[in-house]
């Protein structure tokens, strides 16, 4: 009876019940993500140990093999699987999934898993120590590239299913606006599809024929440009699911309403526009790209500041409005009374805070000439451990605390909630030490992606090593955080008491302004995105091809093949 009443409540809000057959699908994606977290975290621990200079890897394992596993499994596997699982959960909850769509989603899952296994095998056999950026002309075993291509193709199928889900819903609900979260998922999958076209082109047209020996040489700069056409929006593909939680889920958790449906949609549309045509800011110190076009892309890069500021405003406005409505007085009464003891709020909130220095660091990195100060120093590593490994990861953990029990028909107990809070604090402490030390060491000139080295023992280098010791301490604390998180994951999946955990989705104010209909004009958004990409890339890309040097033959001995 209780359950039936709840279902009716949810349906009146346009929310559906996730069936058992669906939750199995969603949990499969999320489970792979947590397995990846454990493996990738262990690799990270080994790295900081090696870099401290007090430890060498046993059994002749190569540092760069470990580094490749770390980057691929955390940067590509964990994120993509978790995000697709989260996307499907949101779509299942807001617009529903048909049996046929569910079967296709399983197909996507298995293609991705086979691809992941192929790539992992190549790396573990020492045939692909090329790091997750796999820059040519270092050449890995073809299985590495083929596996990656399969992961991308699987993720496309998942995205196509998401689009189909919304399409079917729209057909059944003419003249209704799409649910906000379904709209956001559609934007993010669109962003992913357009971005991965670049890396897919590089892998399918350049790398696979070249690694199989069908092409003698490879155009290095073209491959790098295609990679970074993908590599930058990749970080927004990670970030936007966190924003989905911030905009549409956190307000419900703190007992408030959606700040503004149309502003949330607007900021997502702006992220779609300005995340893709900007990859050059990763290539600022490269010799073969015209500096004027570098600058144009730098200016376009900075446009993402606008939706970021909109997001920051919305978050704190929601917090304040909610607090004041609950009757908390004074300038900061609303802030003091935020639900600090609820890990579903606390973990993402720390993520939001980390994004303030994280975003500022990003502005420094993308600043044209200023980039030379930090390019390829370990500052950059510090930067993305603050953004993706703190902002995004803590938000994903925050999502897991309610999503996993919801899907598993269990509940987040007060004890697990407390453990989660401890986890978030451990993460914050570990990351502050590790990322802080990386930032400072980078400003002193120390390179990223390098095994322990005294570089002939200069004075400069002895200064670096002290910070590497600090990173080892921070990294160890983080690994404890990972063990704890995996423990919580297992508890929530298999052992937490049966029950009914809420799937929190914020509602609009009863008197909220109508969302303009033009937000559903997908042709317009895609059209503007494509136009911006063509503007930013056509001329410099033609220039790169026309002024190409002779291609590069493959090199496999430097990676120990």
């Amino acid at each position: 009876m209780e359950l039936a009443k709840k279902n009716i409540d949810e349906q009146s809000l346009g929310q559906l019940t996730i069936q058992k057959t669906e939750s199995k699908l969603y949990m499969s994606y999320i489970t792979v993500a947590f397995v990846a977290l454990l493996i990738g975290g262990l690799m990270g621990l080994l790295q900081v140990f090696v870099r401290s200079g007090r430890f060498t890897l046993p059994f002749g394992i190569d540092y760069y093999q470990v580094l490749t596993v770390h980057g691929v499994i955390l940067g590509l596997v964990l994120t993509t699987y978790f995000i697709i699982g989260f996307h499907f959960s949101l779509m299942g909850k807001t617009v529903g999934i048909s049996t046929k769509q569910r079967k296709l989603a399983w197909l996507a899952f298995w293609i991705m898993v086979i691809g992941t296994v192929l790539t992992a095998t190549a790396i573990l056999l020492g045939q692909a120590s090329v790091l997750y950026t796999f820059y040519a002309p270092l050449q890995a075993h073809p299985a590495f590239y083929i596996g990656l291509a399969m992961v991308i193709i699987g993720s496309w199928i998942a995205g196509f299913v998401n689009w189909r889900q919304l399409y079917v819903w729209k057909k059944a609900h003419p003249r209704e606006k799409s649910p906000l979260l379904a709209f956001m998922v559609t934007i993010n999958t669109l962003l992913w599809f357009i971005a991965t076209l670049g890396v897919a082109a590089a892998v399918l047209i350049q790398f696979i024929p070249w690694s199989l020996g069908y092409a003698e040489t490879i155009n290095v700069l073209v491959s790098r440009t295609l990679f970074w056409y993908f590599g930058h929006p990749l970080v927004y593909f990670w970030l936007l699911p966190a924003y989905m939680a911030w905009y549409a889920i956190i307000p419900k958790i703190i007992g408030g309403k959606l700040f503004s449906d149309s502003l949330a949609r607007m900021s997502f549309v702006l992220f779609l526009f300005f995340s893709i045509p900007v990859g050059f800011h990763h290539q600022l110190t490269e010799p073969g790209i015209d500096p004027t076009w570098k600058f144009i892309q730098v200016a376009l890069t900075f446009m993402v500041v606008i939706p970021s500021l909109m997001t920051a405003f919305s978050m704190f406005a929601t917090f304040e409005i909610t607090g004041r409505r609950k009757g908390f007085k004074g300038l900061f009464g609303w802030f003091k009374h935020l639900p600090w003891k609820d890990v579903r709020f606390l973990a993402p909130f720390i993520g939001m805070l980390a994004f303030i220095p994280g975003g500022a660091g990003g502005i420094i990195n993308a600043s044209h000439q200023m980039n030379a100060v930090v390019h390829n120093t370990i500052w950059v590593t510090g930067h993305f451990h603050l953004t993706v490994a703190t902002t995004v990861m803590l938000t994903f953990f925050g999502i897991s605390y309610w999503l996993i029990p919801h899907l598993r028909g269990r509940t987040l107990t007060p004890k697990l909630n407390r453990l989660g809070i401890i986890q978030a604090i451990i993460w914050t402490v570990g990351m502050t030490i590790m990322s802080g030390a990386m930032h400072i060491e980078g400003l002193l000139g120390a390179p990223r992606r390098s095994s322990y080295s005294e570089y002939g023992g200069g004075e400069q280098v002895s200064e670096w090593i002290g910070y590497q010791l600090a990173q080892a301490i921070g990294g160890t604390i983080l690994f404890i955080g990972i063990i704890l998180m995996v423990y919580i994951f297992i508890k929530l999946t298999f052992f937490a008491p049966k029950g009914d955990e809420e799937f929190p989705i914020a509602e609009e104010e009863p008197d909220a302004e109508q969302t303009p209909a033009f937000f559903e004009n997908w042709k317009l958004w895609i059209g503007i995105t494509v136009a911006l990409i063509l503007f930013a890339y056509t001329i410099p890309f033609v220039d790169i091809i026309q002024n190409s040097p002779p291609g590069s033959v493959p090199f496999d001995w430097p990676i120990g093949r």
Binding site: Y64, S129, L131, Y135, L138, V220, L221, R224, L263, T285, E286, P287, G288, I289, D290, P291, F295, V298, A299, F302, V305, I306, L309, F313, A317, I363, H368, Q369, M370, N371, A372, V373, H375, N376, T377, L444, G445, A446, P447, R448, R449, S450, S453, Y455, G456, G458, E459, Q460, E513, N547, S548, P549, P550, G551, S552, V553, F555, P558, I559, G560
Partner: protein
Amino acid sequence: MHLHKYEKIWLLFGIGSLVVFLLVLGYGAFWQGTHPQSHGITIDPNNIESNEAFKPENLGLTQVEEDKYILNIAASAFYYDLGKDEDGNAVRHIRVPKGSTVLFQVASKDVVHGFNVAGTNVNMMVEPGYISSLETVMKNPGTYTIVCNEYCGIGHHMMYATLEVYE
């Protein structure tokens, strides 16, 4: 679409700062010439010696004028070739007087490398097929480590040299 009054102020302030910031960057880049290195000069990656600057005898430091130097470097996994000294030994250490202008020219014989005079703005990607070059004035005395800061293989962290700026 409605924007709250405070949000308008917030966004106006943010966008205003952004415009000022981009103008500063643009002024530096286009009027003061502080663009990152982007010469687009190509070279045959399979035969960099075909270029005058990278012939074995031209590698290393050459004084061209009082206070003006050219430093030619051939990068390969996992070694910076800085030429040979009078005794025929490989040069690992470069010395220039404080205040001298140095033109760094680097080309790769094999894979992608980095070239960073650590702690300075001399920071370039070195890609097969292109000459990376940057001219700068070495103002601060000290010994700088030159490190490869782009992964080039299992010996990547052993790829270095030193540069001394003396008074």
